[in-house]
Symmetry: C2
Subunit: 315 residues, 2 copies
């Protein structure tokens, strides 16, 4: 009866840093378990402490290596660090992403580090529903820093940025020019640009392109201007500077009141996502799959439009 | 009173191929107009005819150039072609994506081609709600082929694939290796792999990598095995072969019964997305923004968990 462990027992073990209890709690999130409701009630008073840092960038720029280097830097300060690696793509890729985690094996025996991959199960809204809950679990378990790493560029990144206090966008030389990165909408979410693999000859070009693009942006008084930080995460070059920039952004968040504003916005998003998920569940539960099949056949054959079908579905 | 045009008049003008009427109808979708309801009722009987082809791939692989070449090939057959360029990222990037459309200017004066960019307005669910409706409009207006092009890799691509009868995944040499592409979850959605820029020296390497990866996949009897088609869309090389592969996939869809299955699944997704959007609207309308603000403050301070807050919000 391993699945029937009491939420109370799991929460208290996780609070003591038990990695198996943490893993179990996050599996509850992935599976959308009904036990989550009591878990979330229990941990609510302990949340709001962790510093949340998002990492994003196109495949191949070295996100996992940067994550590993940043984890090491915070561990050297004695902070407990949680890592959520979120895969916004199809459920099929869970394995591939996990392969990446191998690079972080040097933290595998460190009880001050907890690393977990999460797939969004291909459901739209899956990520927006699950990631904040996993974050709450790590936050309540006393991880002072939580890194959220996500793959690819697109809508999921924008969501990750809305979860994080500070978002790092990683680029690498030779992975398509930076103007392409701008097109993908990640410029707007970056608090810090990290140019990884700075030992490559074309790194200077990437930095120059980013700089030119940032020069075109307009900032209001007191706004944060994203720095460009060249690193070689593999060699450990530039990581001290990167962490200093993370600290500087943290201070700016506090001084500007932006941290509170972000956290309020995050809570709003979380409640809305939860409300939509609840309503979606009710749709699923209401008229039964068979009715949806009938309506779908009518829509596919042009007998009915999707609005009228949706109205019939939800009554 | 340009906004007060009767849905009937717009639909009948769009059916005659009037690009301004089409643009107006798609703007109704982008703006979530209440008039859409009558539009969708009017056009339902005329839908289900268009062949829907999805194009996706990382930024910089040349999606727009491939789209342009495929449009030209179908135009040469005398077919009317609609293009929806969907940007799943933040609303800020609309302009950047539109810049790309410049490459398709050679179709600008051809009344048998209609090209439209759509942003998803940053709402989660925006794309899954809006793209199928825009597709319905083009379908009902008599475009025999509709190409849906989307930027980036991630969840949005999986959704586009669920909209399309046939999905092409475009890769290009030197844009990160194909194993990285696999990681991004696009392998599973590809019916056809297009290796663009085949005149580059590293194209053979990209083809070899893709081939090796496909060799590891298992296919059941009668399943479609995605071909790898090298092209140079800029020079027009390989486009005839690509269109022949598109035709072959179309025939397979018919023979296998897969087309009907896909269309039924699409209708199901559409109805569900519409039902969720309707319920989401009701949330917005129900307890007012002020109540959500209060609840968010309680969640942010740890006084309340998001489940209980969502319950209070929807009652």
């Amino acid at each position: 009866m391993t699945d029937a462990a009491q939420p109370e027992a799991l929460v208290s073990a996780a609070d003591g840093g038990d990695p198996r209890a943490l893993a179990r709690l996050i599996s509850l999130v992935e599976n959308g378990s009904p036990q989550l409701r009591s878990v979330m009630k229990l941990i609510a008073p302990r949340t709001g402490q962790a510093r949340v840092i998002g990492l994003t960038g196109a495949p191949g720029v070295g996100k996992s290596t940067v994550t590993g280097a940043v984890v090491r830097a915070y561990r050297n300060r004695g902070l407990r660090v949680g890592v959520l690696a979120v895969d916004p793509t199809s459920p099929f890729t869970g394995g591939a992403l996990l392969g990446d985690r191998v690079r972080m094996q040097d933290h595998a025996t460190d009880s001050g580090v907890f690393i977990r991959s999460m797939a969004s199960r291909g459901h739209l809204g899956g990520l927006s529903w699950a990631a904040p809950q996993a974050l709450r679990i790590l936050d309540a378990a006393g991880f002072q820093v939580v890194l959220i790493e996500t793959v690819g560029v697109g809508q999921a990144e924008v969501e990750i940025a809305s979860l994080a206090d500070t978002t790092m966008v990683i680029v690498a030389p030779g992975m398509g020019d930076s103007v392409q990165a701008a097109k993908a909408g990640i410029l707007e979410i970056a608090d810090i640009f990290v140019v990884n693999k700075n030992d490559r000859p074309s790194a200077q070009e990437a930095i120059r392109d980013l700089r030119a693009m940032l020069a075109m942006a307009r900032y209001s008084d007191g706004a944060w201007k994203p720095p460009i930080v060249p690193v070689s995460a593999m060699r450990g070059d530039g990581i001290d500077d990167l962490v200093a920039r993370l600290d500087a952004h943290g201070e700016w968040l506090n001084a500007s009141g932006e941290r509170d504003r972000k956290r309020l916005a995050r809570a709003r998003d979380e409640i809305s996502a939860m409300a939509v998920a609840t309503l979606r569940e009710r749709i699923g539960a209401l008229p039964g799959e068979a009715r949806l099949e009938e309506l779908a056949a009518q829509v596919a054959s042009g007998k009915l439009d999707p609005y009228s079908a949706a109205d019939e579905l939800i009554g």
